[in-house]
């Protein structure tokens, strides 16, 4: 694990500070904390715990329940036109883009070795290594430099938490893999935290 510690500027990443405060006070978040800083891994793990919980809740309690079980409303890629629910992957992306728009310095994305949208295939060496490593179900941590900036990059396995996940991926025309089952790792959540002070 990196020994580099991140100093956060409260004015730039208010959300992050809040999350870190929760993470630091919450037993079992992992990583170590020291006065004046918090490790990038603790921060990434904390962010992931929130992202993954929201993602699973939306998938299970909204999409899977209303679309697949109660058959009340469908989830659709073109949800505005179809008067439908956004797909869980779209919900994830919209949140990530909104976080960026709000000025956060960290970023996160949902990638896969079998992406329906090819733009979501692993691209950097860290992403390729991370997506490969998380096939075992374990988290992956590294540092990488992109466009001259150094990042702490973490990858976490993203599992099919409901039947709806596999149903959609297996049925989609552009899906490179069509044998996903409940509990399979479909992709990974990649979180990047800048290590350079700015």
């Amino acid at each position: 694990m990196s020994t580099t510690f991140l100093t956060l500027t409260a004015s730039k990443v208010g959300l992050t500070v809040g999350l870190l405060a929760i993470a630091a006070a919450t037993p079992g978040c992992g990583g170590k904390t020291e006065a004046g800083g918090i490790s990038p891994q603790v921060m990434a793990d904390s962010l992931y715990s929130v992202i993954a919980a929201d993602r699973a809740t939306y998938t299970i309690e909204v999409v899977n329940r209303l679309q697949d079980k109660e058959k009340v409303i469908k989830a659709d890629e073109h949800f505005q036109d179809a008067k439908a629910l956004p797909l869980p992957a779209q919900m994830f992306r919209m949140g990530a883009e909104r976080v960026q728009k709000n000025g956060a310095t960290f970023s996160y994305s949902l990638l896969s070795q079998w992406p329906i949208n090819k733009q979501n295939a692993p691209k950097t060496e860290a992403e390729k290594a991370g997506l490969k490593a998380i096939e075992s179900g374990k988290n992956f941590y590294t540092e990488e430099t992109i466009a001259g900036k150094k990042y702490f990059t973490a990858a976490y396995p993203d599992k099919a938490v409901a039947e709806a996940c596999g149903n959609c991926h297996n049925a989609h025309q552009d899906s490179p893999r069509k044998d996903f089952k409940l509990g399979d790792i479909i992709g990974g959540v990649v979180i990047r935290i800048p290590l350079d002070k700015s």
Partner: protein, 477 residues
């Protein structure tokens, strides 16, 4: 020679040159001579309001663009928002084409434009989508600069061109069964306004029309939705305003009197500084905006009102780049330019007001078109309401907004909102009456535009066939 002489000379020259080049930035009339290059059709009207786009030392920031265009980008589900490119994993792409910044693709004061409003080479899509020719073999023979061709893809507003939409509209006839646009009806109710703007002359749906709008005249539990109708004896203009019976008669015939809007409702204006209310004979767009807020917002965003939005004198046809009638060169554009005061005849505003100024091929061809024939028939009561096609039908389209389970029809007064690229018209206009395939072909043929859509398209875009081919492959047909 004094040793201080060179310093004094340098200071003097600096002051003179600084004054010469700097003065125009403080005097609008002189700024034209210092523009770095020709301004585009979109912005030439406000080219003297430099601070509308430029920051003193920070160049042109996205905020300057989104101030006018942000709302439209949001409403059209911009498929390439800048937030998509701020993720570090896209840094390599941003180095090739920095899509985080509007001015990367939309530069001003430059001579070379590759597409409408675009100043980068037309093959910009492949900088990120280079694998499209492998992923979609159907695209392998397409030129790399043809992605944005009419009927193919639209970088920001792709709502009429995405694959599922094409599939949904396969094999539609050239003319649909229900040839009509939504009828104007209830619009927004402005809190605190003296009346609603339920359309100065809202159209009552005829018997054959679909019930597309809420009925503004329907009583609610809270009572009638607006004050009682006024008659000539209710007129509240002060004595000094004079008494023109013709104006009173015109007013009584309008929906303004019907909605309880008296003379003072428009002419009694409050001085923002003193707070005192006083009678004003001549009114500008702000008098209308009190009730017609959405229409005023659209007007100020479009080419007709953007100068007012930039605190410049009103637009005149003489300032336009498009051909305009010479005798209208000095007419100043405001609400009453098209909606004549006291009559507010929307039929006039929909056609005659436009052709009174515009003098280009497209406009001149209108009255020989099938669209105009339909408009005439509607105006003469020979055809159902909503079946005619006026200038406003296409350029100030009727938008249906869904709110609280009800439909609300509102006329978009930004005439530029659906104009470029022209496939933005597909959903907002063409598909009210025509099938998607025919509509795409018609818009892809520039001659059709020049002929004001008289005759048949001379071009065919294969987007729908390609979507159908993929569909058949998916379903195993």
């Amino acid at each position: 020679m004094s040793p201080r002489l060179p310093v004094i000379c340098f200071a003097l020259v600096t002051v003179i040159l600084g004054g010469y080049y700097g003065a125009p930035f403080f005097h609008q009339g002189d700024q034209l001579a210092h523009l770095p290059g020709e301004t585009s059709h979109a912005h030439h009207q406000i080219e003297l309001a430099c601070d509308q786009c430029h920051t003193p030392f920070g160049g042109v920031k996205n905020e300057a663009c989104s101030k006018c265009h942000g709302e439209a980008l949001t409403s059209e589900n911009d498929s390439h928002p800048d937030g998509k490119f701020t993720d570090p994993r896209n840094a390599e792409r941003s180095a090739g084409l920095d899509a985080r910044s509007c001015v990367t693709c939309h530069r001003e004061h430059v001579p070379d434009r590759t597409l409408v409003g675009v100043t980068v080479p037309g093959d910009f899509c492949v900088k990120c989508h280079a694998d499209v020719f492998e992923e979609r073999p159907s695209h392998k023979d397409f030129a790399t600069d043809s992605c944005s061709n009419a009927g193919c893809h639209n970088f920001h507003d792709n709502r009429a061109l995405y694959e599922d939409f094409l599939v949904k509209h396969l094999h539609e006839p050239e003319q649909l069964a229900n040839l009509r646009v939504p009828l104007r009806g209830a619009s927004q109710i402005v809190a605190g306004a003296s009346a609603t703007d339920a359309g100065a002359d809202a159209e009552a749906p005829d018997a054959s029309a679909d019930a597309q709008t809420t009925d503004p005249t329907e009583p609610t539990d809270a009572g009638p939705p607006w004050p009682k109708a006024l008659t000539a004896k209710d007129r509240d203009a002060p004595t000094e305003a004079g008494d023109d019976p013709a104006l009173t008669t015109e007013w009584v015939k309008t929906a303004h009197s019907g909605a309880g809007v008296n003379c003072k409702g428009c002419h009694q204006q409050t001085d923002p500084a003193s707070g005192a209310a006083a009678w004003q004979s001549k009114l500008d767009h702000t008098a209308c905006a009190g009730c017609h807020r959405a229409e005023d917002t659209g007007f100020l965003q479009g080419l007709h009102g953007m100068r007012l939005a930039s605190k410049l004198p009103p637009m005149t046809p003489g300032l336009a780049q498009l051909p305009m009638k010479a005798d209208m060169s000095h007419a100043q554009l405001g609400c009453n330019s098209c909606h004549k005061a006291h009559t507010f005849d929307t039929s006039y505003a929909a056609v005659e007001a436009c052709i009174g100024c515009h003098d280009d091929q497209h406009t001149l061809a209108y009255k020989a078109s099938r669209h105009f024939l339909l408009w005439e028939q509607e105006q003469q009561g020979k055809a159902a309401k909503g079946t005619g096609v006026s200038c406003a039908t296409c350029h100030l389209p009727r938008e249906v907004h869904q709110e609280g389970g009800h439909s609300r029809v509102q006329v978009q007064h930004n005439q530029n909102a659906n104009l470029r690229p022209n496939d933005k018209m597909l959903r907002s206009v063409c598909m009210s009456c025509h099938g998607l395939g025919f509509s795409i072909d018609a818009l892809a043929d520039p001659e059709m535009t020049r002929r004001n859509f008289n005759g048949r398209p001379g071009r065919h875009v294969t987007s729908l066939e390609m979507a159908e081919k993929r569909l058949k492959k998916k379903t195993g047909e």
